[in-house]
Symmetry: C2
Subunit: 503 residues, 2 copies
């Protein structure tokens, strides 16, 4: 067909649809009319050598978009590589090649390695809609992905991105399945393991729904957005690093699936295993410790569920040639005192610096994990915990942590926020429980993770006794407005601490 019909100017809509490419076109656009496009039509847009598929939103009566111009969402604009003045060619999108594999899985068929490769390829090329992805995720839920399929999905995800090659020798790693507020063990584990002489090139994520991710906490103390060359340099010098994984393109399909899994709130063991192990394999790890916190408000809620997940992890790791160890831990309450990037960094430093007021629970969990990982690497019985403790007590771990930060670009002391509010016990009694979700929400309303020093500082733990009016926790904020919002929420809704009142 003639070009004049199928190409129109592209502009940037300035709208963030979170990775899903969306195109906005006016209802009177001749192309919409000619092609029979209507809202939610999957539209193929080609510019130079790139082609993307976007969902259409029709602009019916706004004056910011003229009829014969197409406005692209931020992700559509970026993935098409558009520049001001460009014209795009438009057409109906053909169904993705992998759509038939997804349909087969929905109908209960077993998929093969090639099917998963095609699905992952189409996920990365945005050829599948969010609805297709939701259907795929639902079709893999429960135990509908068997072991062969889990291995095939893991391989397909691993192969679709960058892979790091560290040459000869062991490469250690650790991962926690489903975080607890404040559970910031990773920086300490890395420092201990690197101080013991092992290689541990750790990459972490930023918070997505939580008040802080490991990368957010580390960023308070050192630069974390390392390119691959810098990451190699740091690891060669110090044995370990504590970088943000976002720029490294390891198992990139994972992020796109997680984007859909999170709002659906489905736990699929198969996809969880593929998600974790594809990243570890792509990062070149050889020995991996997986921490599975179990508790009523944690991701994994029962010992049976932990066992089933662990069995699948081990089988897939074996197929990929990874040595893997599972560490099941207590997931019933927040860990440490601080919740929020800087406050958690301060807990980490308190443990590394052997301060008298360092949170005991964070220290103990960290030593358990570091010890378990050392045992896995050395394979000579349970001596790792003692080694780990010695490295912490001697100050070797602290020195290694500072050296890693220096290699990454320098160490900075975490700041405290200027605005504080103390929340006190309304009655005297014993603290029965801390609601992980409410405490996390208060920290986020106070500004975490965007405001680095905002968050919550716990003053009491479950099992402790308080008198009426004694402090339970402090809210920290960088502006008085945010302090008010967090305090309003803390006071107007169900309390985050439940107290068994004295009789």
């Amino acid at each position: 067909m003639s070009d004049k019909i199928h190409s129109i100017p592209l502009v940037r809509a300035g709208i963030d649809t979170y990775r899903q490419p969306v195109v906005f076109m006016h209802k009177d656009c001749h192309l919409c009319r000619a092609e029979g496009f209507s809202s939610l039509t999957r539209v193929e847009i080609t510019l130079r050598e790139r082609t993307i598929i976007a969902s259409l939103n029709v602009v019916t009566d706004a004056d910011w978009l003229a009829p014969d111009i197409a406005a692209l969402s931020n992700s559509a604009w970026i993935s098409l590589g558009a520049r001001p003045g460009d014209k795009g060619f438009f057409g109906h999108a053909e169904p993705a090649k992998s759509a038939s594999a997804i349909r087969a899985k929905v109908y209960g068929k077993k998929l093969a390695q090639d099917d998963f490769r095609r699905i992952v390829e189409d996920v990365l090329a945005f050829r599948l809609s969010d609805l297709d992805l939701a259907a795929f995720i639902a079709s893999c839920a429960g135990d509908r992905l068997d072991l062969d399929e889990t291995i095939a999905l893991t391989r397909a995800m691993q192969d679709a991105g960058q892979t790091l090659d560290w040459g000869e020798g062991m490469v250690l790693d650790k991962h926690c399945v489903g975080g607890l507020p404040g559970n910031r063990t990773t920086p300490i584990v890395v420092a201990i393991v690197a101080a013991a002489g092992f290689r541990i090139p750790k990459t972490s994520s930023r918070a997505i729904t939580s008040p802080a991710g490991t990368a957010d906490s580390m960023e308070v103390m050192t630069p974390v957005a390392l390119k691959i060359a810098d990451l190699r340099r740091v690891v060669e010098a110090e044995g370990g690093c504590l970088a943000w994984g976002g720029e490294l393109d390891l198992s990139p399909a994972d992020d796109l699936l997680i984007r859909i899994e999170r709002p659906l709130d489905f736990d699929s063991d198969g996809q969880l295993v593929a998600s974790v192990l594809s990243k570890k394999a792509a990062a070149g790890s050889t020995h991996v410790l997986i921490d599975i916190p179990v508790g009523p408000t944690a991701k994994v809620r029962s010992p049976e569920a932990a066992e089933s997940l662990a069995a699948r992890m081990k089988a897939v790791a074996a197929a990929l040639g990874l040595k893997l160890r599972i560490h099941v831990s207590d997931g019933s309450a927040p860990v440490g005192r601080g919740i929020g990037p800087s406050l958690e960094a301060r807990d980490v430093l308190a443990v590394l610096r052997r301060q008298a007021d360092a949170p005991v629970d964070l220290r103990e969990r960290t030593l358990d994990l570091a010890g378990s990982l050392l045992d896995l690497a050395q394979g000579n019985g349970p001596i790792g915990r003692e080694q780990a403790e010695a490295l912490l007590v001697s100050g070797a771990a602290e020195a290694k942590f500072l050296a890693i930060c220096e290699a990454q670009g320098g160490f900075f002391e975490p700041r405290l926020a200027p605005f504080h509010a103390v929340e006190t016990a309304p009655v005297a009694g014993v603290i029965a429980e801390i609601d992980n979700r409410r405490i996390a929400r208060i920290a986020k309303l106070a500004g975490a993770p965007g405001r680095k020093s905002a968050g919550v500082l716990l003053q009491r733990r479950p099992g402790e006794r308080v008198d009426q009016g004694e402090p339970l926790y402090e809210i920290h904020a960088e502006t008085s407005g945010e302090l008010d919002w967090a305090r309003d929420y803390a006071r107007s809704s169900a309390p985050a601490f439940s107290i068994c009142e004295d009789p």
Copy 2:
């Protein structure tokens, strides 16, 4: 929390997101920051007594939206009942109550009547996201909805909207599963059955992806957007009506599920049966004829698939107290000559008026269906087809059709479009096949169904011989531009007619 924090002015974004409520907020909006909203967050918006849940799109750098204003998509604006100057209250949406039932179904559990009621309730209140609906649909695919569940879903969908009560006596209805281009039997069947003295209050849909729905074709000849009171008046006077069902709110959840099912392209017998029979039951029908065209490019592709669908239809109808009959028909090619609202209306009138050039295939299919429905209603052996033919031949059906149109507001003769192009045979030979999808696409590019007289007029049928240069079909359009677009497509892509060339 204080009102100043959580309410901001609402404006209309003028963007059609096809029923999915979307809210656009600026990245610097204090509410986004305070609540930790980010793109795709499910946001609860309350105005007066109404509350809706919308997905958030964050406006990052456009100047049409100021920071502390929320712009609503058309569907969000309408379902909230917003007016200029209103301020809405914003918060995080709690997960829908039915989300746990959907999760259970995803994990393979059997759902009960109450589960389906909750799901349908949440669908109608837009408390479930499109992703949730996609997961629900995937979890019901294949035979994962058993008979009990299909019945429970049908009841839940039926009860969630309006129901019509026609008092004593039979109420007849017909439905075709998966349309073929040009298969416009309904107007003639209704005329014959009403002429035979039966009550048949037929409601139909407009085209969604096809070049014409029954309501689009009828609209060329008479008003179809009847309110319930008008529909009753027409049926009381004439025994039948041919109305658009869109204003009647019968099984309203169906439209919302279809919106997701269509792009997913899953055939789920359970949901198809629930979709069809919930509408029939809500419309007060007692005797229903279901036409299932079977063919390689039809919705139902094999006799076995038709049989399995028919068995489920019958069992669910029995549970609902509906008398139901299945009519399996040939779905291999378009029916009649015209494709597009007016052109199909002209075929309908040619049959009713006993014109010598009336399409024989449309006439025969119609008599089969009308006869079968009369037999179902009368229960006295296969005499219905003879009755039907007599009513058509005598002119009684034509008279009844005109009387129904007059009662609905008057009869208008369908117009022919001003622009025509004739597509001819490139070689001599026998016509092997007509591609339903390509012919439908050409009709849509020519303007159907929006342009009522646009479409395709077939001049030849499969099995007929043509010489080189003889006409195969005409394209009809209301503007020369649209004629060009349709012709460009017809000539630049694979031909719609395949011809077995003479040896």
